[in-house]
């Protein structure tokens, strides 16, 4: 007999059906045994009556056992109807019971929301933790939101392109994760901090509307709400100006909220725009929380950031992205390397309830202007050529004006789902110091593996 999902049983009264799932709870009422059976669609009350052959084996059932039941769907007595669940008007009278897998007593409760349990324990036993209704909802909503993004962008003519994960270390932004090459001894790949360079090269290659749900990697020092690997919605478009990128993105975000969270109120449409200088003056931050009502979603754009700022050592560095274009009226100053501190970038950040969820810019597709950016930051010609020569060369073969944006999806989705941190919307997150407690990684490796990679571990390395 073909299995049905427990949610389907609500409309199958008097039918004989087969269901499978986990024992959610067990209780007895006199001689009658009740269990709640859980599958991905919901929960169903199952009754074991003493005269049925399923009765004897049912006495052994414990929470989290996996079972398969054939039974008859029956209307519950009126006073027993439970309005709170979709299957609350029926129950399954079990005829046959098959135990598919027994379970040890779970190390923690899976019927609660789980916030009360130590997070280290939840990560180590993530396969138990994911069974709770909240985590199931989070992963399924994450899938739906991301699938909606793909649908929306595909309808708008975008093409998703997969870019490499084994790429090159370049001196920009955060610290890279590195991968020793076995075939090129002494050389290393870097895992990408973002697909920034590849997506720009795709624009030079004629993919005029690109997007990717992209895995990104940053080897950061321990920070509470960061992950070593995270997911971006990455986007880039050719022949556009700032307004074009902002328009389609604002439309995408509004449609997501209205589709999946119709009860949530977007505080202001169109999203208000703040100039960086005004935001700092008024809110003392460039990520202001504009909520008047705590339940609303207060989006805003922040624009007109300075392109450069001074480092602690007094050298110039970029505030957001070295590949950005200055606002058109500052291009001449950039090329002349004059009034550096006053140059504004085309950068636009999207802020939601005080968190930066996305950011991007119109890019600098003139090779000589890109070179000026690196020169201002003190890179010499050799360093520029070694690290960014391929970009400059690409731009010399006919580069369209282009711009884009990238969103930190983990953060955006966690805010939409009212979760306190991004780990609640990631299937297998790592600890703050980047350990996977379930797999017990990172871990020492064999000496033969080290030998093959032509590397050795320094003697003063702290052993685990």
């Amino acid at each position: 007999m073909k299995r049905v999902q427990v949610a389907e049983t609500a409309s199958l009264a008097s039918k004989t059906v087969r269901v499978s799932g986990w024992v959610n709870a067990v209780r007895a009422h006199g001689k009658i045994l009740f269990i709640d059976l859980r599958d991905q669609s919901g929960v169903l009350q199952v009754v074991f009556l003493p005269n049925e052959k399923a009765y004897e084996p049912a006495k052994d059932l414990r929470p989290e056992w996996v079972i398969d039941i054939v039974g008859v769907v029956s209307a519950r007595p009126k006073q027993m109807v439970n309005d709170k669940i979709p299957t609350g008007a029926i129950e399954l009278v079990a005829k046959e019971l098959n135990v598919l897998s027994q379970a040890k007593t779970p190390v923690f409760e899976v019927l609660s929301d789980g916030y009360e349990i130590s997070e280290e324990k939840r990560m180590k036993y993530r396969y138990l933790d994911l069974r709770r209704e909240r985590m199931q909802r989070n992963l399924r909503m994450r899938h739906k939101i991301i699938h909606f993004m793909r649908d929306f962008l595909t309808r708008e003519g975008f093409c998703e392109v997969e870019t490499p994960c084994l790429t090159k270390s370049t001196p920009e932004g955060a610290r890279d994760f590195l991968v020793p090459s076995r075939l090129q001894p002494g050389s290393f790949f870097a895992l990408p901090q973002s697909p920034q360079q590849y997506k720009q090269l795709l624009q030079v290659g004629g993919i005029e509307k690109y997007f990717q749900i992209a895995r990104c990697f940053r080897d950061e020092d321990p920070r509470a709400d960061r992950q070593a690997e995270f997911t971006q919605l990455d986007m880039e478009m050719s022949f556009v100006e700032r307004e074009d990128v902002m328009e389609i993105n604002e439309r995408l975000i509004i449609e997501i909220v209205q589709t999946f969270f119709p009860d949530k109120k977007i505080q202001e449409i169109p999203f208000p725009r703040l100039m960086y200088g005004d935001a700092i003056e008024k809110y003392k931050t460039d990520r202001p929380d504009l909520r008047k009502d705590q339940d609303s979603l207060a989006f805003c754009w922040v624009v007109d950031f300075p392109f450069f700022e001074k480092t602690g050592k007094g050298e110039w560095t970029f505030t957001h992205n070295p590949f950005s274009s200055p606002k058109p009226e500052f291009m001449q100053d950039l090329l002349n390397k004059k009034n550096i501190g006053n140059i504004l970038t085309t950068q636009y950040d999207m802020v939601l309830n005080g968190a930066e969820i996305g950011g991007g810019s119109i890019r600098n597709h003139r090779p000589e202007a890109l070179e000026a950016v690196f020169e201002i930051m003190g890179y010499d010609k050799k360093m520029i050529k070694e690290n960014f020569g391929h970009m400059m060369e690409a731009f010399s073969y006919g580069a369209p004006p282009h711009g884009g944006i990238a969103y930190g999806l983990d953060r955006f989705i966690s805010i939409l789902l009212n979760e306190p941190n991004i780990r609640e919307v990631i299937a297998f997150p790592k600890t703050g110091d980047s350990r996977d407690l379930l797999m017990d990684s990172p871990a020492p490796i064999g000496s033969d593996q080290l030998k093959e990679l032509n590397i050795s571990i320094k003697k003063n390395a702290k052993k685990r």
Copy 2:
């Protein structure tokens, strides 16, 4: 004025429009200048007449310059109509011309199919190579096919879950890429060869229908048609038997072919099924090419593989996947470690025109049976616990029966697109010895980076 795509101009006769793109070709006819303008939607003939202000600057135009034109769409004289392109009945009479980016003379032709050009050169200048019509079609069809897979599986109730890329090295299958941990000196992450363990843990976690378009990594010796990183459609389902997995997958593959390649003929539906022994006897291979017509798509399933085979050293190893379940009638032999060479696995491979495009199995969700597999392969208790203890423990907390499949998408898509190798359907492929010629990676890194990672390069390492 808002830009239109060149394909849209076909229906805009007598309208003034703005278009942008690359100069595809330049020619003169007496005093009149013609160019073909190319954007992602197609090609448009543009005419520069001597009396227009766009005429003088148009004299400088060269192939691959990026330009922006305002002009009037006009019907072509009857004898000049080109039936071969959608815009062949019209041309654009240019009024204004704006050069967005000049271009050096391209290092190779971008109007041809490109097969005649050295592949190393095509990889180094991939941003030029991607401009050719064939590569544009390949990337766009790849997007459409993968998006269709996501749509299909989402409709069928599947949930896409992203699993980690920074995970653990385990002694199975091919060689891992390793990532030194800076925060845990002396320890390493491994990049996943597949999400096999995580997708099984998701089944234990109640995600009953999982899929993922997953990046996978294998550090293989140079082989012509392999890539160090590649893309899988990865899938896993709970409470299923072999027939359930095969049914939904056969339906998915047939729908893809019928949707995107209506002219291609699938040789036989339902896909024929061959037993491994029969395939070897009749075709001398377990990936037979069953085509009677060279143009057809000859799919078949191969089943009933032996679970174990002897290595060169005379030890037992798995033929496909250590996490597979034996066929039910061989479970007792597995548990008793008897008749090992005769045990058949639940493995099913999907073969297309002589290439294995996918494979999977029903998994072994009984901890004691999984332990028996590793014992047969000669692993001692300590090694099993260290490497697979987390899987065995997960299965002890109530594991549903489950099974799945994974496809090598690069291969499948290259066959559908009649391409001779997988690099033709990958945006930024690497060479056979895993070098990225565009980024020039892998590359040496700075001594400060090595120091931070607590590793050193062995002195005898060959320097680049």
